[in-house]
Symmetry: D2
Subunit: 297 residues, 4 copies
């Protein structure tokens, strides 16, 4: 449907690799770069091209997409020595799809603008499965025209693609998403221990709760995990811990109070400190159980 674009894709990890492949599949010319060669080889096997450096990947690109772990990697890959802004031509559209603090996105946008380079921040939710199946939700911050130009690319990657405001807004919405998810999990966990301690039939109770005003996607998707104490991820507590760091920092920067959010951030950190970092975030239940004096191992 969309015209074929020349895309540089920086960061071919668990998320980036299938996303790049989906862009190839949609008819685009995708040149990939990653710190490890095997990920680049996989992209080539999927029909993409290999680059030996960010500079090489970016040299000829109309659009640059970055998908890296956290703020320092984004700063390094875009603003750093040998980074995107050194090599990209004026007019290039740089789309950072990493999940980072809005403040870093705003800083990247300002640095890019000085060089005539356009940016969007476009973090995603939906996880590895969503990346593979191209059903991600994509929250986009930046200029409306730039969003319109990038829309066909986003449509190759996800099903919910929404422009939510200026530079940083995509990250802000992603951060808000993680805030709500963590708190919704925590309160369900508190409810579960309360119901169990009171001798209630837990599966029956969670079914009623899911059907009323207490219902939520968290409750629908995670209640079986909680009933069965099966915490294979899913979305790991380690990652949610990173995200709670983002949202508390971002909220502080804009003077938004998070009395409940900040407490839950501490409980997520506690889960990690208790060795639950590689479990699904629904394992916040284990933290409530520990507070209740139960042995969880």
């Amino acid at each position: 449907m969309s015209a074929s674009r020349k895309i540089a894709f920086i960061g071919l990890g668990i998320m980036g690799s299938p996303m790049a492949a989906n862009l190839v599949r949609a008819g685009h010319t995708v040149t990939g770069y990653n710190l490890t060669q095997d990920a680049i080889d996989k992209l080539v096997a999927d029909g993409g091209l290999a680059a030996g450096s960010i500079a090489e990947a970016v040299a000829d690109a109309e659009v640059v997409i970055t998908m890296v772990p956290a703020d320092p990697q984004v700063e390094q890959a875009i603003l750093g020595e040998g980074g995107v802004l050194e090599s990209a031509k004026p007019g290039t559209l740089v789309i950072d799809m990493s999940s980072i603090t809005p403040q870093t996105s705003i800083k990247v946008a300002a640095a890019a603008q000085e060089k005539g380079i356009r940016t969007l921040d476009a973090p995603v939710s939906g996880g590895e499965a969503g990346a593979i199946e191209a059903v991600l939700s994509i929250m986009v911050g930046g200029g409306a025209e730039d969003f319109a130009e990038a829309k066909p690319l986003f449509d190759a990657l996800g099903t919910t693609v929404i422009h939510v405001g200026p530079a940083g807004a995509g990250q802000t919405v992603k951060a808000a998403n993680q805030l709500i998810v963590a708190v919704n999990i925590q309160v369900v966990a508190e409810a579960v221990v309360f119901l169990e301690n009171a001798g209630v039939d837990l599966p029956a109770a969670l079914d009623v709760l899911a059907g009323g005003l207490a219902g939520s996607t968290v409750l629908n998707r995670k209640k079986a995990n909680m009933v069965d104490r099966q915490f294979a991820p899913g979305f790991r507590i380690d990652l949610h811990h990173k995200d709670m760091g983002i949202v508390t920092a971002a909220a502080r920067a804009v003077e938004a109070p998070l009395p409940v959010g900040s407490l839950v951030a501490q409980l997520v950190a506690s889960a990690r400190a208790n060795g639950d970092g590689s479990l699904d975030h629904s394992a916040l239940l284990r933290g409530v159980e520990r507070l209740a004096g139960r042995k969880v191992n």
Copy 2:
């Protein structure tokens, strides 16, 4: 469908009045008692019978339903002088549909059992509209056989009717419901202020959030209230404040920790102290705005 039963209905308020009428409509003989006469007159107009006292209402009843404001009224109406247990025949089934602490329900059940009277605790959610339209959710605690016997009556009042455990279990689930709802509202409120302070397009953002793992019935039903700052109830903060008192007391009684729930209970109390008690509970947003230094009046 169900055999006609002789029912005494104690407490014909905003909820009790339409519930009693629905039982009349389902073919039952309903004798009502209320502290004010007009409510009794309304039941008679709806096809019910009038009683001048609890004793009179209960004398000939197979089933007694109580629907009163809070723990003291339940204790008074069932355990007190002139209350249900004084007049009800052994074998009567007493169904308390008030929302109270599980511990009081357990106490009522024990007192009734000594007199050979059976009890169910069966609090509801769904509000006045749900009561009128007979689409309440009903969470029932007590014996399985007693539940089975009462099921046809509940079906005349609601659409989701679930037996969740022994005496008190219905109240526990109702309390858990109110816990989750309050916390889900609070975190959406924190997210809203965060999004606004960051300059995000709020309606667009809430739409994305509602579509992902952050989605919830609260978000779906209350996001327009929050965007428009329209807080006509709905469910009043005053009532949610009462319910947070129930859930914190009930959780304490069974040694279940509510770190987040207890903090939100304080924020609900604060909303009330700030004069928002008669607003919809989505007005917890106003509390977050106050913390953020906004003028909300």
Copy 3:
């Protein structure tokens, strides 16, 4: 010093027993009653008189002192069948020195007033040692003249004796005391784990902290417990848990927000649920350690 009074002393437990003995020592005629006979025998050995019932103890008394565990026992001993108000003569001064909710003290005062009986609420702090050595702090609510009349008795029991307001005010101040103590302990515990995790020399650090604006009686008295992990009571977590129940209920009753206090109440409850109830309240440190992923036993 003071004129000898006829005192009935109800409740000769760990606190009441040495207090009654101190009143004997000060020259008063003290008639004691307790649920167990050995405590009465001990009072007789200390120079007091024995009563076989509250009625008998109270019959001839000018002043009645009650010192019992909690709200239900106060209600029973003063308001209940066979209780103080049934037997006390009009004009008697009833001093409840138990630690209970201010609301119950107010209820007791109102019930007494109807019978022409005067009341003071006069909870203490200082523990068993303070009771034995007559160095308690006594916080007194009630009428100024009644306080003046009771002052010589209080002076036989403690060293800090202050009239803080009308009926219930003594309990309110006691509750505030327990609130501040629990929170001060909790934050020192958070600081200790933070300092240790950061590799700081803990005893040196606590010494600096104690000397500055962070200094507190809690820090002075409890830092050795925390450094050495020696949690022999002192004041048991079980009792502080009871007191946190009082202060959260009392604050709710007067619409005072306790965002931090209510969270700490949950952490105290969690300590108890984890089996630390019989340890000194400085063992709140163990809860912070558990949150930090440390094995504490």
Copy 4:
């Protein structure tokens, strides 16, 4: 007493200016640099020497002291272009007395060590008055020998001077200090509103509380502020907000949970968002009053 040293002093603000003057007074040769000339002129008037740049100040120094507002200024002044590490000779002792995150102090120490330069982190408490009167508390992290060498200089600045551990430890203890102070203030504020709402005689109550286990330096020094609602600083909420950012970040870095500390950090931020940033930190009381529905302006 101590041998005269050649000291470069970078940062002659409200704190740095009197501290530099005290070092002059103690017989040291102090060469000062500041971003504004008037502060340098003042040092010269006090007997010091002027430098036109950090490089010039540092060139000949045996000891370099930095006293600047926050992490970025420390990084700039020590690690940045034209900063201390560029000009200082190997063997120089660099003492950073700013209040910053321990992690930045550790980073500075590591960078310095690569150049053979020694460092101490030595934040202070005691405020402007303490700086002028040379009665600061100084918490020092770094090597024991370096501490011993610097001890005479610290003794010219303060009265409590303690070595608390390796690089960063001084900052950690300062952060813990601010954590405890903020929480101790907050809980006193919660107690004040509770006592007032309950009709208690506040000054009398605070006197009793100060005399028992609830006593603290905060209560002693701030109770009059609270009773009189006089919030002239003292220590400004803006600065405490900065410090709560330090302690929450530092605790996160070492995986120490701050459930209560993080909540209080939000309440400090809220005070600032409500326009109370330039008031004394005891004005946290105003935040509790707002939560209680009182008008505070």
